[in-house]
Symmetry: C2
Subunit: 435 residues, 2 copies
């Protein structure tokens, strides 16, 4: 029907491919008829020449068709989700999932593990003894009926084309492509059977997108392609020039989330980002003033309802309630050491990327796929950018298990917090929204 | 030492690679450490982003190092060769090889089979019963001592990297790249152990390079890269808007060459191109006026020396002298039919590509690799572009074996000779030379 070499040549020469042509390539690749070396040449041509929004939407739909779509038609509530492009200390999902459920939404949240220097929601939840992240697409609807929100890991049933293509891209230098990143994300989100999605596109020195320009391009691509495939979609570009919240590390972030959900020690940045993302979704379906909505959310936290909902979600997924208590009370902590300021001044910059890497070197993330991780290590930040400090003030507490690993990260962390006298320029926390 | 993904990314982003980096990739690929999908992604990035002359020369040298170089140091004569980028009716090699020998040069000519719509020198020689095109690099020097020129096919000993890379490029849309074409050609020529090379870069509707601009780019690349690797090199860009000489087909072209070598029926275009190419090489080593040189070549043809030299070359390669006589006298011809002009006018255009394809459809070339071919079929042209014809004048004689195949090409051939009244613009036969 088609000649694969002819189609590769077309993309090489910058021609747009039709849906039928893309279908022939992707289906053929999943079936094993198109060879790895042909797909990688095609993808490299696409990375350099680009894909149109129409091509990217076609790719997304063809990738979804390679597997099962979750059928949530038995659930009458509005099905929504949030996706973050990855950051450091980003525990928004842990707070937003129970909040969505309390607001009356159904939230099937397929989440991932840590990638590069960023953390992953599944790793965080696995710090709770007993938590089972695998859910079959058959069991998901009843779980959602009970809990409202379910956070689960990607199974082989959902978008198998993405898994095969991602593994190829990883070894062929074809990861860095906004259209291919878009198709990978949107296909998995659309296959969740949801009605609407909000993207949290992180931007800054702790994000994959370093500049607002890159972040905007990805946000627009995600929103346009989602809309083309029939998903209501919005995106916020949010700051990742410092960790979000005050903890980095799997159990530590669950601890911070539990306190937040009870309305205690609510980090103002974490709260602003979480509620802004929630409101983006909410305003797609309801005309409610933002202030009114935020007050309602505050009440949900203060009433303990979001906290109880989260506990219910965890226990429904096999999580041990005693383990959850241990985490909430910080009983997992082994050894700690504080880093203190050596000068008076203002916190000017945080090297958020290095902080993410430090967690990995501590053993709290993976250097390579399949590494086991220690969920109990991490950091607590005592300062934010712009804060004034004096000599001796605590900047960061390190929670560690292994002396050698501690030693390896101490100087990295000391260098990652830059203190000085010059004028401090605050980044906006939310750069902009994309509709 | 190097990360292959990092090197692929570099080329993807348009960065020039060092010799060490290229060596790591090519050696690793030949050794099986770099995977097919990684090499094809790298090659696609290179096809789109390009390679510098320096990178191309490095690639060429690294490819040569993957195999043996022929050692001709025992031969004191100057070692030279010619390479054509491929045309229709192009039998220059068959005439030029014995001429080189008669002029006192040593000519180890590694030749190929038909590619696409173009003919191959090895296929032509195999129309002579008994001709053995394989020569080991060990036997070649003594053969060259005896015959002066030896035309032989590529063995697995010479530039194995080219074979592996070409097979990959063929299925991944990465053939069309001047630097990669250059590295493939120059590596094989340089490995012949020669001192100087002249390239015949064909240009026109029967060539791979359709425009003078494309042909010039390839010619300059071939000459520059050859020079960088230590080969004296020149190129001529020659017209391929009509077949070269008056025959197309394997045995037919050997027949035309035999007559030419005896000084009979010397097609003026074939003679001009052959002698111009020979003079390009000759003038690299000797200061001889072109007219004097051409008179000397003429004498060599008229004396029968070039003809005898050719026969000696053939017999030395196992060719049957009776078979050669059969070809010279056209005794291989089975059936023939003439195509005559249906109008008065001038020959304005020849669809040279279609004529090349017609030979394949007749059975005289391969539709796919490994097809067997009938060496005895082909065409004789009775006209050239610019000639005036009248209704009923013979344009072309078709020599065929199979009625169905004959029928399939008759209308293609009729359409391939365009006759009309408008002004005829002659193309230069030799567009330009590149030093």
């Amino acid at each position: 029907m088609y000649d694969p070499v002819e189609l590769i040549r077309k993309k090489r020469d910058g021609v747009f491919l039709t849906r039928q042509e893309l279908k022939y390539l992707i289906r053929g690749y999943v079936a094993g008829d198109i060879r790895d070396e042909q797909m990688s040449a095609f993808l490299m041509a696409g990375v350099i020449r680009g894909f149109s929004v129409k091509e990217t939407a076609c790719l997304t739909e063809i990738m979804i068709e390679s597997g099962k779509e979750i059928d949530l038609s038995s659930i009458s509530r509005t099905k929504v989700d949030k996706h973050s492009t990855g950051g450091v200390g980003d525990k928004v999902s842990l707070i937003l999932a129970p909040l969505f459920a309390e607001l009356g939404y159904c939230n099937p949240m397929m989440a991932g593990r840590g990638l590069g220097h960023t953390g992953g929601t599944i790793d965080k939840l696995e710090s709770i003894r007993g938590y089972q992240c695998e859910v079959s697409s058959r069991d998901l609807p009843s779980r959602l009926q009970r809990s409202g929100s379910v956070i689960f890991s990607q199974s082989d049933e959902i978008v198998p084309a993405d898994k095969k293509m991602y593994e190829l891209r990883d070894v062929t230098g074809t990861v860095e492509s906004i259209p291919l990143i878009t198709a990978s994300i949107v296909s998995k989100k659309k296959a969740e059977g949801i009605d609407a999605i909000v993207y949290d596109v992180k931007c800054g020195n702790g994000a994959f997108m370093k500049t607002p320009r890159e972040a905007l391009a990805l946000a627009e691509s995600l929103v346009r392609v989602s809309q083309k495939t029939g998903l209501k979609a919005r995106a916020l570009i949010t700051d990742m020039n410092q960790p979000l919240g005050y903890t980095i590390g799997n159990a530590l972030e669950v601890m911070e989330s539990l306190l937040f959900l009870r309305g205690e020690r609510m980090d103002r940045h974490l709260k602003e980002v979480t509620l802004a993302l929630t409101y983006e979704i909410h305003s797609l379906f309801y005309e409610e003033e933002k202030e009114v909505f935020i007050n309602r959310c505050d009440k949900i936290f203060r009433s303990g309802k979001a906290y109880e909902r989260f506990k219910k979600m965890i226990i429904d997924a096999g999580g041990d309630s005693e383990a959850l208590e241990e985490i909430e009370e910080g009983r997992f902590i082994e050894k700690m050491i504080q880093i203190r300021s050596k000068q008076d001044g203002r916190i000017l910059e945080m090297d958020t990327f290095s902080m993410g890497k430090a967690l990995i070197y501590l053993g709290g993330g993976r250097l390579k796929k399949g590494d086991s991780i220690n969920h109990h290590v991490g950091m607590e930040l005592h300062v934010k950018r712009g804060d004034s400090v004096r000599v001796g003030d605590p900047l960061l507490t390190l929670f560690y298990a292994d002396e050698a690993k501690k030693a390896s990260v101490m100087s990295l962390l000391e260098k990652s917090i830059m203190i000085g006298e010059r004028e401090y320029e605050e980044n906006p926390l939310i750069y902009r929204s994309v509709h």
